[in-house]
Amino acid sequence: MTAISDAARPRLAKGVRLQSDSATGKSVLLFPEGIVELNETAQEILIRCDGRTVSEIVRALAEEYDADLAALATDVRETLADLQQRRLIELT
């Protein structure tokens, strides 16, 4: 797996939609013939994948949750790498 650079800008892949599941209140990713239920970390990251870079997303989350920057950066990279491998996000 290739490391995700700080300058990369993650976006939802083509055909993938992020929305709330009214039955559970949780966020889900919808794509052709597939549904992924997101944990809170993934959800918070994905709603910030709006053109920002990875390091901007990490900083925004650190401010919001008053969390440790280094630990958060690891979480964000791992989550994004997992989503990228499943082709649910693209990095530009």
Partner: protein, 388 residues
């Protein structure tokens, strides 16, 4: 038995189709079938065929209501299928209704009937993705399989869908006559710029069950195809998702059909019958299905006999009942059990522990001992108005 929430609705909005593929999973009924005993007690499939032909299809308003009821039940995705769903002029209206209900919308189409204008209308209605079917990679063979001139139009329409910015997935139904061209089908997928391709060996229901011997690939063909698909998967990783589906008769354990009966999926057919599985109406004649014109979808999903008959594990016979796999494969496919053993409550005969496995092996033996494919197939025909 408590019902879980469903995730996906397959909306079979019409059984009309301009193609005649001999592997269609639609009910295989012809007017000739309706005679004698059948004429007095028409089966679900015949009743549906008759109603479809006499334009008993659900209206735009009825479908819009079904879509809202499905969303309220928890459904997140809808697949518009058929028949050929494009044959309905109100398709874009139905897509819009589904998007208003916050559903992810997928169109499963042959492409026939689509043009610039209709692709644009679908995009404007909010269509999320298109699954375009191909019969093979070459015109001659493709058109022979489809029983119609269609291949060139499909190539054109794939480009239009791409140009409109709608995500494109391809589907090739694989069988004895085209399986040796798997590598070329993958090349076509690359050339058309699709994001995902299903190379799905034909599953034997509907017309495909009728044409089983003519369609069944040999063991040698299947092994070679799997090698090609595996290599292509590695080569195109990160670029195109490739799904290769084996014909399950060659497996020793059954597929986890539908992820369990009445667990995640429901199908509504053109006349409004609600089915746990699209092939159930023709494969399981003794099951009675409820209709959205007379019952609420919520009640049908939770309470009806048809959705509860094989829900969970209580219905299971041995060897399923005491099998450690029972929550993994759910006893396999009810339709396959019905078609091959005559009883939908039997273990899927694909399972090596099924007392009926010999029936599957007999088909494989026949398929693998015929040296050439001399068998003709019967082309699918549209439901006709039936005369009793």
């Amino acid at each position: 038995m408590t019902a879980p929430r469903p995730y996906a609705l397959l909306a079979e909005i019409t059984y009309r189709c301009p193609l005649h593929c001999p592997y269609c999973s639609n009910p295989a009924v012809e007017s000739a079938v309706l005679s004698g005993e059948h004429a007095r007690q028409p089966s679900n499939a015949l009743r549906t065929a008759h109603a479809t032909a006499s334009n008993g299809e659900l209206t735009t308003d009825e479908w819009s209501r079904v879509i809202r009821e499905a969303a309220a039940l928890g459904v997140l995705q809808i697949g518009f299928s058929g028949g050929e769903p494009v044959a309905r002029r109100d398709l874009a209206d139905l897509v819009r209704a589904a998007r208003e209900a916050n559903l992810y919308t997928n169109l499963i189409t042959s492409g026939i009937g689509l043009d610039d204008e209709r692709v644009r209308a679908l995009r404007e209605a909010g269509l999320d993705s298109v699954q375009l079917s191909f019969q093979s990679d070459q015109s001659d063979l493709s058109d022979e399989i489809a029983g119609a001139r269609a291949h060139q139009h499909k190539l054109d329409i794939a480009a239009k869908i791409r140009a409109a910015g709608i995500p494109l997935n391809l589907n090739f139904v694989i069988h004895r006559r085209n399986i040796d061209r798997l590598a070329q089908m993958i090349e076509l997928t690359e050339a058309l710029g699709a994001e995902r391709v299903e190379l799905a060996n034909v599953q034997f229901y509907g017309w495909a069950f009728l044409n089983r011997v003519a369609l069944f690939p040999t063991r040698e063909q299947v092994i070679r195809a799997r090698e090609i698909a595996t290599a292509a998967k590695a080569r195109l990783a990160g670029k195109i998702d490739i799904f290769y589906v084996l014909p399950d008769y060659y497996e020793t354990r059954p597929k986890p059909c539908l992820n369990g009966w009445g667990q995640r999926y429901l199908t509504v057919n053109p006349v409004g019958d609600v089915l746990p599985c699209p092939t159930a109406s023709s494969a399981i004649p003794d099951l009675r299905f409820e209709n959205v014109r007379t019952c609420a979808l919520d009640w049908i999903w939770r309470e009806s006999e048809s959705f509860n008959r094989f829900r969970g594990t209580e219905w299971m016979p041995e060897p399923c009942r005491s099998c450690p796999q029972r929550e993994i494969d759910f006893g396999g496919c009810r339709c396959q059990a019905a078609l091959i053993t005559g009883n939908a409550a039997n273990t899927d005969p694909v399972c090596e522990f099924s007392p009926n496995r010999a029936r599957v092996d007999a088909v494989l033996h026949e398929v693998n001992s015929v040296s050439d494919h001399a068998h003709d197939w019967t082309y699918r025909v549209n439901p006709k108005v039936l005369h009793c």
